[in-house]
């Protein structure tokens, strides 16, 4: 429960007087509160520094050390105070948490010391207020990273493999972390070597070598030593193919692997060779084949598996894609503008190289990037003026986005970190809230179970509950009695709806149903589904079952198997009939609410739309339990 909610509980209980005239059932007795009601000042001595606070303040958080009876262990009878041998500076913040409901993190304190104090006083760090949460998390992460670095430096070995891993898993591990085994390391270096060899061979085979004897023309080395280069290429491609196939075999998810960037690069690197093998020595096709050989240069990207830096660069470019796109777009705009202007400025001149606007693009690009090859030069005065404006603006257009990209990158990078942090925090916060709610509900349901199990002995129910919990549960109990419905949890509710079948009775419950089935006119859960199910069962009915007191149900056919009773008993390990009991009332009423149970016609089609039936289930209730959870055949 949140902070000052404890303060408001008496108010909420008092307001329950408003339910009293409406209550369907009699109200339960309130919990007996034996503790003295008057508030008193407590003295807390922390290493000599005396703090004083109201008892109520500390009672606000009953699940911490100071709020529970755990502090009695620290009570010093002689001095009539609670003595803690801890840091008084830190205690100030802890006590302020009780007072204000917000826990703050003091920036000058060591994060580990703070964590230890919180652990001692039983306070979870998630309660730190929003104002200090970011700082706390940053410091904590920094600390953890620093510690992790130290431990990493100490341990050179990775964690050992889990035992009983298949050869496939081991192979994948070897590929991903080459440091794990010597074989993997050897393979890693061998592939690295062959990538280098392959790339160098590609480069060298275009270098002109001395012409062979008896010829004047210089040949590129590739053609002179064709066989040698072919053999080297074959060896490299064999190694790459082997590596690719091994990775494909070892990958835990083959589809995902095949879609990953690295595998695409691998495929593109080895494909040209195989296509070249397959393709005939045809003049027309060889042109295309030559183009394909260009893709062999992609083998150089295989180095990114070996180099962390390349991967980071790739990620950087990917993350700056929008900025780069903008740069490209603005450059394109400028190029088009200036090319058009230059073309029209130089149009008239004789022998002008600006033959068309696309031809002027080349001039514009070369000028804007200040390359200035000089192959295209303006001759007219207007052309020269615009050419100079083009080169000046080129400097600006190119120089401006670069710092923007750099700062954008840094900003986006940090923003991403922060967004991820906030999303995680938000998730944690929501999860915390949900858990708190569930905790409260579960506590209440547990309380109900305990209460019903031993209804006369109240001592057993006390356990470790605080006065606050007692009173809150009493309040919820009053609400139940007012409306004559009971709280339950999601699982039970959905289970009941799932396994609800008309014929679902066990022997021990028949006696109870006879007592309560008759007069209770509250409806069952999911009556619409009950109707649908019943209707479907009418269509596939085989067995008709009549139960003890509920004779009206004879007309509806029901399948019973042994499965439902098992689930029932698994629900209540204590053989508690209470939940079953409630179930009874549901189901009888659910069937009663169905208007016309057609008796013995198995081919009955589904009944008409539920409109004439009174008590149409609210849409909000039924939506969660749609057809997909209906399993007719199993029942």
């Amino acid at each position: 429960m949140a902070a000052g909610v404890a303060t408001w509980l008496p108010f909420a209980r008092a307001a329950a007087v408003g339910w009293l005239p409406l209550a369907k059932k009699t109200m339960p007795k309130p919990p007996v509160d034996n503790s003295s009601r008057s508030d008193e000042i407590l003295y807390v001595n922390v290493s000599g520094v005396r703090f004083q606070t109201w008892k109520n303040t500390l009672d606000r958080y009953p699940d911490t050390l100071l709020g529970s009876s755990e502090k009695e262990f620290f009570y010093n009878e002689d001095t009539q105070e609670y003595f803690f041998d801890r840091d008084p500076e830190m205690f100030r913040h802890i006590l302020n948490f009780y007072r204000t409901g917000k826990l703050h993190y003091p920036r000058h304190e060591c994060i580990q010391a703070f964590d230890e104090e919180l652990a001692f006083y039983g306070i979870v760090p998630e309660i730190i207020g929003d104002c200090c949460m970011e700082e706390y998390r940053d410091r904590k992460k920094e600390n953890q990273e620093r510690l992790a670095e130290d431990t990493e430096a100490n341990e050179a070995m990775d964690a050992p493999l889990p035992p009983h891993s298949t050869s496939r898993e081991r192979l994948w591990r070897a590929f991903e972390n080459p440091h794990t085994s010597t074989m993997a390391l050897v393979f890693y270096y061998v592939t690295g070597f062959f990538i280098a060899v392959s790339v160098i061979a590609n480069v060298v085979e275009t270098v002109p070598c001395r012409p062979p004897k008896g010829s004047v023309k210089e040949l590129p080395c590739g053609e002179k030593y064709q066989l040698a280069f072919f053999c080297m290429d074959t060896a490299c491609v064999l190694i790459f193919t082997f590596e690719y196939l091994m990775r494909l075999f070892a990958a835990p998810s083959r589809c995902k692997f095949m879609r990953s960037v690295m595998s695409v690069i691998d495929v593109v690197a080895i494909m040209p060779y195989y296509i070249g093998l397959v393709m005939p020595e045809n003049e027309d096709v060889s042109g295309a084949f030559v183009t394909l050989r260009v893709f062999r240069v992609f083998r150089i990207f295989k180095f990114s598996r070996h180099s962390q830096g390349l991967r980071i660069l790739g990620y950087t470019l990917k993350s700056c894609a929008s900025e780069l796109g903008f740069l490209l777009f603005s450059l394109t705009m400028a190029i088009i503008i200036f090319a058009t202007v230059m073309f029209y400025a130089e149009k008239g001149t004789k022998g002008s190289t600006f033959t068309s606007i696309p031809a002027s693009f080349w001039y514009t690009i070369v000028t804007m990037t200040t390359l200035g090859y000089g192959d295209m030069v303006p001759n007219t005065i207007a052309g020269k003026i615009f050419g100079s404006i083009c080169s000046l603006s080129g400097v600006l257009v190119i120089a401006l986005p670069v710092p923007v990209i750099v700062s954008n990158f840094s900003r986006i990078y940090h923003q991403n970190q922060r967004a991820d942090k906030m999303r995680a925090q938000q998730k944690v916060r929501l999860a915390r809230i949900r858990m708190a709610k569930k905790g409260t509900t579960n506590a209440f349901l547990q309380y109900k179970e305990d209460r019903d199990r031993d209804s006369d002995s109240t001592a057993l129910c006390v356990k470790n509950k605080s006065a606050f919990e007692h009173q809150h549960h009493h309040l919820l109990h009053c609400l139940e009695k007012t409306t004559n419905h009971e709280f339950t949890d999601e699982m039970t509710y959905s289970e009941l709806c799932m396994t609800e079948s008309v014929g679902f009775r066990t022997s021990r419950s028949t006696s109870l149903s006879s007592q309560q089935g008759a007069q209770n006119n509250s409806t069952g859960c999911c009556p619409r589904r009950a109707r649908r199910r019943a209707a479907m069962r009418l269509a596939n009915s085989t067995v008709s079952v009549s139960r003890g007191s509920v004779q009206e149900l004879d007309t509806l056919h029901v399948k019973t198997t042994s499965i439902p009773p098992q689930t029932r008993s698994s629900l209540n390990a204590q053989a508690d009939d209470l939940k079953l009991n409630c179930g009874e009332q549901d189901f009888t009423a659910a069937i009663i609410s169905i208007p016309t149970p057609p008796a013995n016609t198995p081919d009955e089609s589904l009944p008409p739309s539920p409109a004439p039936i009174p008590g149409i289930l609210r849409n909000t209730r039924a939506t969660a339990y749609t057809h997909d959870t209906v399993k007719i055949s199993s029942l």
């Binding site: 409406l22 008057s38 409306t483 419905h485 339950t488 009941l496 859960c525």
Partner: protein, 239 residues
């Protein structure tokens, strides 16, 4: 600037440079725009912040409250400390109230009922509960006589405070109570559960069958019902 020659500008006259005085500068619209964009925004936005933080309320004296309510001095002190701790400004607005009340009923939606409750406590209908409202209400609920408590309940059900509880008002109240139960209940709450409940209530309370329940009918019927009378003592030791 200097006046041109009285003879008007002829070809031979010297071109007078216009003097760049401050007055002429201010006439330029570009200058005006630059100045306008660089001056601070008007002080309106900061004023409203100042206003909000100033809204607070101090309660009447302890003696007065002691006289008006049935709480002892210590109880009032304890109550005020809790109240002030939660609402330092001394006022509870409706949204805060709804949030607080909803925390006690995690499974359902308590906001509608909290709204009715808020109106029942906010006696002067000014949109916020002061400590006096809070304490007066609690005094009736915890230390008041049975008649006073019933009167308070009647006031709660009578949404428009006209002295009559109509079926619509009761249905609204009942729906909001059933909303607090939430979705996961045994047995499940049907759409007409509140309506049925209202029907039963009216059957019991509406003696002359005129479709509304007056305060006298209400008090009379409740006094005859033993269960209700017995349960009225339930919450006396809450504080």
């Amino acid at each position: 600037g200097k006046d041109p020659n009285p003879g008007g500008q002829t070809e031979g006259s010297k071109w007078q440079k216009p003097r760049l005085s401050r007055k002429s500068l201010m006439k330029c619209c570009l200058v005006k725009w630059i100045i306008a964009s660089t001056t601070q925004q008007g002080p309106d936005s900061s004023d409203s912040d100042l206003e909000l933080s100033m809204v607070r309320h101090q309660p009447e004296g302890l003696e007065q409250l002691q006289a008006q309510t049935q709480f002892t001095r210590k109880e009032l002190q304890s109550l005020y400390r809790g109240f002030k701790n939660e609402c330092p400004s001394g006022l509870v607005d409706e949204e805060t109230f709804k949030t607080i009340y909803s925390q006690f009923f995690p499974q359902g939606d308590a906001t509608t009922y909290a709204h009715f409750l808020f109106n029942a406590f906010d006696m002067d209908r000014n949109g916020s509960i002061r400590f006096e409202d809070f304490v007066l209400g609690l005094s009736v609920l915890l230390r008041g006589s049975v008649t006073e408590k019933l009167r308070w309940a009647f006031n709660l059900y009578d949404i428009n405070k006209d002295g009559y509880i109509t079926k619509e008002e009761m249905l609204a109240i009942m729906t909001s109570i059933y909303d607090m139960m939430g979705r996961y209940t045994l047995p499940s709450v049907r759409d007409d559960s509140p309506f049925e409940h209202v029907e039963k209530f009216f059957q019991k309370m509406d003696r002359n069958r005129d479709g509304v329940v007056t305060i006298d009918e209400f008090i009379e019927t409740c006094q005859k019902d033993e269960n209700i009378m017995a349960s009225m003592q339930l919450f006396e030791n809450v504080i």
